[in-house]
Amino acid sequence: MSRTPLDTVEHAAATPDVELPWAELGLKKDEYERVVEILGRRPTGAELAMYSVMWSEHCSYKSSKVHLRQFGEKAPESEAMLVGIGENAGVVDVGQGYAVTFKVESHNHPSYVEPYQGAATGVGGIVRDIIAMGARPVAVVDPLRFGAADHPDTKRVLPGVVAGIGGYGNCLGLPNIGGEVVFDSCYQGNPLVNAGAIGVMRHEDIHLAKASGAGNKVILYGARTGGDGIGGASILASETFDDAKPSKRPAVQVGDPFQEKLLIECTLEAFAEKLVVGIQDLGAAGLSCATSELASNGSGGMRVTLDDVPLRDSTLSPEEILMSESQERMCAVVEPEKVDRFLEICEKWDVIATVIGEVTDGDRLEIYWHGGKIVDVDPRTVAHEGPVYERPYARPSWQDELQADDANKLPRPATSDELKDQVLKLVGSPNQASKKWITSQYDHFVQGNTVLAQPEDSGMIRIDEETGLGVAIATDGNGRYAKLDPYHGAQLALAEAYRNVATTGAKPLAVSDCLNFGSPEDPAVMWQFAEAVRGLADACQQLGTPVTGGNVSLYNQTGEVAIHPTPVVAVLGVIDDVARRTPVAFQEDGQLLYLLGDTREEFSGSAWSQVVHDHLGGLPPQVDLERERLLAEILISASRDGMIDSAHDLSDGGLIQAVVESALLGGKGARLVVPDGLDAFTLLFSESAGRAIVAVPRSEEVRFNDMCGARGLPATRIGVVDGDSVELQGEFAVSLEDLRKAHEETIPALLA
């Protein structure tokens, strides 16, 4: 863009015929025409830059918005909800005056282009969302999905992503307490790097992203603005990868966790002294987003002098400054008399802080550069009134055939030896194998409040040392189930995360989600998306757990091939006293193993069908949300009243996977018997939902059984914790040593 003469608002009005590069910036023709219509003239270069990033799929949710509304419309009554969808992150009440904010976001595309920095800045971004709510970040979780474990490119992407998450999160001092690692060739060209964070604050400390009060100052603080990440949201995250285009590497941002750690401390200190009226982090779309969001959520307008923005590169144009996604920056609105103190705190932490503008009486966002006005817009048209698409959607023609290809018809093991071989194959398969090689690269101890961390069913953090109040979080998703049936697949993801929280003894309260799908321009993908959102919204309503916020990542596809639809669901729970938490590991020989819930012949989409037959077809396990709720109530009561010493949810891999994990973590074996009405194969590998195994001390057996009986939850005794092998009576026994070898050597062998 030419800068002689400066493309001011005045200049734009006088030169209506100047061609602007709207297509290169990712805008469609009708979108550009809409901008012209809104402004009543052609936009200036700077205005075009702002509209193009803010109206991108990533920032505007233009394809997903019409569906996402259901999360609000179907939101269950919940006394816990303090701040809902639309802010940087949702906030829930967890009691004793504490509020917890949490959110999951995607950083998929950058992590494929540049795994280390892509993943690192994903952590940085979600953590700034948490700080912007007024909270101290207390933990992170990372649901990850990669291509086939033995594919050469996985060895490029995975170690980089893991090192990036560790490099950034460890340096920030945030314990990494959960997440997932899943391999499937559908993610080969589109790995999913989702990042979640939790923060804790007192109720009165909640902060919002709004600029109010004419005369209040707008302060930009944190890192200097550079040329990195320009167009990250519009170019990188909102298009399909295509080999023909030039490298997108420069669109990835570069992270500096040390700077972010300083940003956390100085922001929290400013909050503690009540210096901040409104606050917004700079993430996707950088200053364009921060200024337009703050201004449009507040009561007035805003005037910004772009010349005052501290730069890393003095040659940047105003358009580039507005679009830059340089990391570790925040924008605060501060009353004039408090500005000095705010700047003092920033100086204490060696953080650069600059007043770049102020809140005005009007309703316009005006931005100046070299004395000329280069932006004059209604901020709402930038931040909230972007295009909304009713994308066409249609059930794919192949869906019926896929669902007809039932995995229950696949050949099953004919002999005890074959059954045993399949058990070893399953627990040693990349998806079911121990992820210790990955999680040991993350700090789970820092802050000194970690009660449970992976591979536990949910991560748990103590938030009050006196009372023992704690929160738990679990994230789950199953792209294979969702491919077979997106509506129920999304519900199964929620059910699993809900169950995982309850298994550790915490009460599920609220939901955040990260919806990873292919191109919205493909009606089949759009159908998957619409079905998944409908399923999730319905299930949240039924379980009483509102969606508090989240993120949509579209265009996860390479050429014509989309990833499996992959809604990842995070459930947050609360526990009154973390001393009552229930771990996965078997604790004591002689304790009785009970299977809770109903086991049916449900193998479609299962880990068994994938590992043994490389098969995907049929219908996923049935969803019974009332059963999930009952199971959760039983697990929470049993944990609170000391009736169980360990518990593990049953999900992918079925019962045998759960028993092997509990046995290896506890260093204690188990003897199992096949209960009446089931066969050995179904007992071990079925993936029926709404189930868990628990270890009950003998002294508690009667009380536990009475409780399950009275509430109508099937509880079947299936064995006992004992010895140093896992044995299925009449079928096989495998030593813990052999199981450990199978379970723990797979991932290092593939990736170390």
Binding site: A163, L172, F258, K261, Q441, V446
Partner: protein, 226 residues
């Protein structure tokens, strides 16, 4: 009367609050010290906590060593002030030449976080007297640059003088020479180690063990002459 133990916060310190908690749980009074402030507030001992001070973009601990607070810490440590360096704090102590040797990147090139088995080799220092020599303990370890190195002369001297305070057992997590996890100075008032005792002070939290608590009870007993 109890002891006042200072915990220095450098920019990028991460385990400063955790260390203050551990000091409190041991029965002493934690005192926050600030890297820009030379004043040690008349504390009876100092802990340099873990973290990534100044981002550790240069050699770990290399910049913190020159911070104002370290001028006083170095001067007083030489005069006998008890100083404990944990992880990044250990790195700062070697950079400050209060302890010999230095730390390189882990030999496997990854960050490592695990519950690590150690043997207490020297139970006569200010920070280890509540252990017994030869005692085996588990303390969480988490670092990127934990590989202890020194020249052969220094290693021989450390071994001969019994100044290896802790040794990794069963598994050397980072390639440290002689399996060294922690060392002491000649006087026994300055101790540095890579593992994190402050993460092993409560039965429910972190590793679920309390094997790290004796660090803080050792110094408390020494200071209040129990």
């Amino acid at each position: 009367m109890t002891a006042r133990i200072g915990v220095v916060t450098f920019p990028g310190s991460l385990d400063d609050r955790d260390t203050q908690r551990a000091i409190r749980l041991a029965g002493a009074e934690p005192v926050a010290l600030w890297h820009k402030d030379k004043d040690l507030k008349q504390v009876d001992a100092v802990v340099l906590p873990g973290g990534f001070s100044y981002g550790d973009y240069l050699r770990a601990g290399a910049i913190s060593r020159f911070s104002p607070v370290m001028e006083t810490v170095i001067e007083q440590a030489k005069a006998g002030l008890p100083v404990l360096g944990i992880c990044n704090g250990f790195q700062v102590l070697t950079e400050a030449h209060l302890l010999p040797g230095g730390m390189l990147g882990n030999d496997h090139l990854h960050f490592i976080c695990r519950d690590q088995k150690l043997r207490v080799e020297n139970a006569d220092t200010a920070w280890t007297s509540d252990y017994s020599a030869g005692q085996e303990i588990h303390i969480p370890l988490k670092n990127m640059d934990g590989r202890y190195v020194a020249d052969q002369y220094t290693l021989d001297k450390l071994e001969a003088e019994g100044r290896v305070a802790f040794r990794y057992l069963d598994f050397n997590p980072n390639g440290s020479l002689n399996d060294i996890a922690g060392i002491t100075n000649e006087a026994g008032n300055v101790v540095g180690l890579m593992p994190h005792p402050e993460h092993a002070v409560e039965p429910l939290i972190g590793s679920g063990r309390t094997d790290g608590l004796p660090f803080f009870t050792s110094i408390l007993k020494k200071l209040v002459n129990v």
